[in-house]
């Protein structure tokens, strides 16, 4: 015996879609700015068809049945694209949950036996609930992808190598120097040294809040790599509290040239280049011409 609701749904596919669309459009939070009504309709129709085609006496009892794979694929696609477009979880939730309303409305109109109606309605409710859980999981995954992408972008923009003078490059580090970040910092620094033929690199850590042994190890590694390239590396921006902490930790930075400020690092770099910055003497306007 076929479940009553399956027969109803197959017969009333069009009605369900209409009801669902009405439910969705009635929601005040609907984002017409993000998606046109036609697109929404196309998405909804695809989902309704896939859902009803998959429903049978077995799957109706199990929202997580593998047969629903196609439905879940469509849902995931919708959910992920919504997450990336900036939909709120509420809007995405309503998308799925308002389908439940539509389905139950149709059942209520078509099934007269109250006991059967209750039983069928319960089954449908369970399936849609399990779909919405799935939807939320993928929605969050979509958001996480966005965050990961931003993290990548940030780590790239936050490592600008600056050519401060002929043969001198500087790299201000802002934030935490974790392993991934160190890799990016080191690569862009070494690359810039090669490109500019610089022989002095200044690594400014005024923007690094905490220097623990891991960060220190990363710094030491970066200095060694720079030296292997034939350039000298100066670490600047060591605040007094960082200096004290590093000493207590037991980190040995005696082999590294360190300066408290970027200005003093630059001065040291000039000295190493045999450059001298002097204040210009006020010129005498009178030129004596003999």
């Amino acid at each position: 015996m076929k479940n009553e609701s399956i027969k109803v749904f197959q017969r009333k596919k069009k009605n369900i879609l209409e009801l669902w669309m009405t439910n969705q459009l009635a929601d005040q939070g609907l984002r017409e700015d993000l998606m046109s009504n036609e697109d929404l309709r196309a998405q909804s129709e695809e989902l309704v068809s896939a859902f009803i085609d998959t429903l049978d006496d077995v799957t109706i009892n199990d929202g997580r049945a593998t047969a629903f794979e196609k439905v879940l694929d469509i849902l995931s696609g919708i959910s992920i694209s919504r997450a990336k477009q900036g939909y709120s979880p509420r809007e995405t939730g309503i998308f799925v949950l308002s389908l439940k309303d539509a389905l139950q409305q149709v059942l209520r109109d078509e099934i007269k036996d109250v006991a059967v109606l209750y039983d069928q309605s319960q089954k449908i409710s369970k399936i849609i609930d399990s779909f919405s859980i799935e939807t939320f999981e993928t929605f969050i995954k979509g958001r996480e992808e966005v965050i990961l992408r931003q993290t990548d972008e940030i780590s790239e923009i936050s490592t600008p190598v600056i050519r401060v003078w002929d043969n001198i490059v500087a790299l201000p580090i802002i934030g935490t120097l974790d392993s991934a970040r160190t890799q990016v910092v080191m690569e862009s620094l070494l690359q810039e040294i090669v490109e500019t033929g610089s022989n002095i690199a200044i690594l400014d850590i005024s923007g690094v809040p905490t220097v623990d042994s891991l960060v220190a190890q990363h710094l030491i590694k970066t200095v060694s790599a720079t030296r292997l390239m034939g350039a000298e590396c100066i670490i600047s921006g060591i605040r007094p509290e960082i200096a004290q902490t590093v000493v207590h930790l037991g980190i040995d930075l005696t082999n590294i040239i360190t300066k408290s400020t970027l200005a003093s690092a630059l001065k040291a770099a000039f000295a190493m280049q045999q450059l001298e910055v002097v204040k210009r003497q006020r010129q005498n306007n009178m030129v004596v011409n003999n």
Binding site: T176, D178, P209, T210, S213, L214, E241, H248
Partner: protein, 128 residues
Amino acid sequence: MSILKEQDVVPFRNRVKEYAVKTGMGIVNQTKLITAASELVRNMLLYAKGGIALIEVVSRGRENGIRLTFADKGPGIADIKLALKDGYSSGKSLGLGLPGAKRLVSEFDIQSQVGKGTTVTIIKWKNG
């Protein structure tokens, strides 16, 4: 606060800083405490795949301070004395985390049982 991934390190350090600022701790002691916390939390992640970190405000007489507890259910440390030696590391890092953290704080306690886990408790007094 549960610490399960590298991304938990920075928020945890920020929480420690908030507490330290609230007790009126100076910038040098703040930095020392946060650095010690950073070492212990990283150890927990690296060697025990994470654990629980607890932040408390404590007082003794007129002195206020922050107590941090790091508890994990990792492999434990067989030789605590060795682990506390400067430069000892079972991995490829500097081996300064435990001994360094100990020097940076006012009180340091470590309990560990092989196969059961490790708990490190530190206190930094405001003027300590």
